[in-house]
Symmetry: C2
């Protein structure tokens, strides 16, 4: 295949979108508009509707000349042969959704992979090495409560037994393993990068954030996934009657928590990081009792681990100072000094920053510029959320492609990306895979 | 009775405390120390243990020469005859407790009333007009969820039917009326100040706050009860993913709520008022979702209604400005401007300031100075919490006497006032009632 050949390849937008909406009949969710496709999705991993989507995936890729490789986590690797044998370059994502999800998260990545196979078939193109599409099991973690669990097992970062024994949320008895068996997707191949190595992994995904839309850009070249750290902060003061306790005698845990949350946002601004509190509980919880105890979650994120380290250090020092009554950042200006309180920290989750592979990033950047014809429509990005590409990147060169999400909305029936934007993304995916395959054929990468 | 006579009267501290601890065997609560009396109380209104305490009250006051008047709310007015007929001057409080309450809240006021009757009997003292002790039903509002409900009915501020039909909290079927019938305390006399007028009402009560202890003073002369107003504030932003939503794109309801709570405290400081948040709920409530909705309670108090009015006006104006992104009080310094949010207010409860009667206040002040022998040990106070004296004061001259609460703790098993402090309070109560009776005999009051 000559250079000029693959750069001219176009995907068929109408065909891809028809297929996407057609497989959204498996597990249709909540209606949010009047058009036929204006419904969300509710296709929990390993449910009957997930089985239907999987069956379609297997039938379709088989008909397109692929061999199916099914592993012990139900990950399905469909591989189309190349001119020479070797590892396949994959497009991958997931067909499962949130219980109240949309039509694009995960699904677009798989459908764009299928469209890639169709374009190759249409033009009778033989790639240098095999290419493939992989559907990862239970990415969302919505039914079985570890997200990206199956790419995690593949990367050997999560033990198979732990994954197999995950029980469905809500008190049901089903496990990952029992459901894999029930729907006929418990493969005999070990779920491991050693049994099913990949030359590279490219994932097209909706941004799930507002940046591309706000900046009026079309493609995000994803350099990695930001680090995050989850904490629970407990503020310990003293319960007291709101009517009989003067301000100066209070150890008001809610007032201190309010100052801490206000301050965490300021520190995030200073560090160009992010901080948010999505859970807060107080006790005893009555209008006329000053709460003695407040517990709140703190979600801290930044593209680099060092930034999160610095945030954590500043948060811990400043929170302690505020609890002791120091006027950090003027927060105590105009206030009545009260009694000191205690703060304790618990680290709930640590997820280091992921950096994708330079070769894959370069392939996506070149493809995006070629497809859009305008560098101004392409931006470098760090993914805010986790994806299967995080685990994939630990065992093979990886990058991702983002396309705009309307209003930044995701995990919601109203999640939406226009057909044109989906098509641009799919074309960038196709071109990225072909560029990477070509790079390998020239011996310019370490893999293959 | 000559002036010199009653000023020399002493109460019997040992006798009063023995009686107090003895009737705490009815409804004993949680143990908090090793001494026999170091347990709390759990004597819910109209329970079997409340019936035992009531029976003791009736037997004891009858034996002390009182006539019993029982009304339709189970309020028990024990009246000791005077030299001439006329309305009685009352000492009053309540025998019911919180489910996890202490030995002093309410109980001390009744026991000091009984001790007053005993002292009068011991010295064969005939007051000018009758004097009495009243036990009000369900002051705490812990079992039947309106506090001070029976003095409220007596004052004709709460309809009898509403009070009778109150169901016990926790889903039980019992009502105030059914429980009054069950324990034999549904009186035939109407519950009304018209059927059972009082010449005056004096209430000895623990402070339930830290002021007397902090100031090393012994007696609070209570001039009234502060006003309070309860609000629910709802902050409406937008749910968003913590990982994919930049700070500038957020409408973070928890961050705004934190700023509002911080600011409410500052406004309270400015107005010499009080503000607190004892309830806060957020939705959807997950670590990695910026909450779109936060609802929180705001309890605002001040001695004067005008101060609460001014607080409310400032809170509403400043909260709206902060929601719109204005940098009120420097709260947004160093922050990332985000999207505007909406705020709505709901007023849940309005309780105007209560001002007690000058004659009763003067009687308490004179008695307190005489009993302590030191003006420095006596302070004027505004009650932070509501009491039956609030409703009593609407229909007759009223005042209260406060004694120190250790650590300001109340509604807790560890609530504690030393025997010496209890005795000082009881002696001030005795002297206040006798002074007021004398004042009436001189025709110096409007009542009697
Ligand atoms: Zn996804
Ligand atoms: Zn009380």
């Amino acid at each position: 295949m000559q250079d000029g050949d693959f750069k001219a390849l176009k995907i068929d937008q109408g065909r891809m979108m028809d297929s996407l909406h057609s497989i959204c009949s498996f597990g249709t969710g909540k209606r949010w508009g009047s058009a036929p496709t204006e419904t969300g999705m509710s296709r929990l991993a390993l449910s009957d509707s997930d089985k239907q989507a999987r069956d379609w995936f297997v039938d379709t890729t088989t008909a397109l000349g692929c061999a199916i490789n099914l592993d012990a986590m139900g990950n399905i690797f469909a591989v189309r042969p190349g001119r020479q044998s070797g590892l396949a370059t994959f497009a991958g994502s997931h067909l499962d959704t949130q219980p109240s999800g949309g039509r694009y998260d995960g699904i677009l990545g798989i459908l764009a992979g299928i469209e890639m196979l169709r374009v190759l078939e249409d033009h009778h193109i033989e790639t240098e090495f095999p290419v493939g599409v992989v559907n990862w099991t239970n990415e969302e973690g919505a039914r079985f409560p570890i997200s990206m669990v199956s790419s995690g097992v593949w990367a050997e970062d999560i033990p198979l037994a732990r994954a197999h024994n995950l029980k469905e949320v809500g008190g049901g008895k089903a496990t990952v393993k029992s459901e894999l068996e029930r729907i006929g997707y418990l493969g005999t191949m070990p779920a491991s990068y050693k049994s099913m190595p990949m030359a590279a992994h490219f994932e097209l995904h909706i941004e799930q954030g507002p940046i591309l839309e706000t900046e009026r850009q079309k493609v995000g070249v994803v350099h990695g996934v930001q680090a995050y750290r989850w904490f629970t902060v407990e503020v310990q003061g003293r319960d007291a009657h709101t009517g009989t306790t003067p301000l100066a005698n209070r150890a008001d845990a809610m007032l201190l928590a309010a100052r801490l949350i206000t301050h965490a946002h300021r520190l995030a601004t200073t560090h160009s990081a992010m901080a948010a509190t999505g859970i807060l509980t107080l006790t005893p919880g009555s209008t006329n009792t000053i709460p003695g105890t407040v517990r709140f979650a703190l979600d801290v994120r930044a593209p680099a681990d060092a930034t999160v380290d610095a945030m954590e250090a500043d948060l811990k020092a400043d929170f302690a100072a505020l609890a002791a009554g120091e006027n950090i950042g003027g927060l105590l200006d105009g206030s009545t000094p009260g009694k000191p309180l205690n703060i304790s920290w618990q680290t709930d989750s640590v997820s280091p920053a992921t950096l994708f592979h330079a070769d894959c990033i370069a392939a996506v950047r070149a493809a995006a510029e070629a497809v859009t014809g305008d560098k101004g429509l392409v931006r470098d990005m760090t993914s805010g959320a986790g994806h299967d590409s995080v685990y994939a990147s630990r065992r093979c060169p990886t990058s991702m492609i983002f396309v705009p999400s309307r209003n930044g909305v995701s995990h919601n029936p109203e999640e939406y990306t226009s057909p044109e934007d989906c098509a641009v993304g799919a074309e960038v995916l196709l071109q990225s895979v072909l560029r990477y395959d070509r790079l390998r054929s020239m011996g310019a990468t370490g893999s293959g």
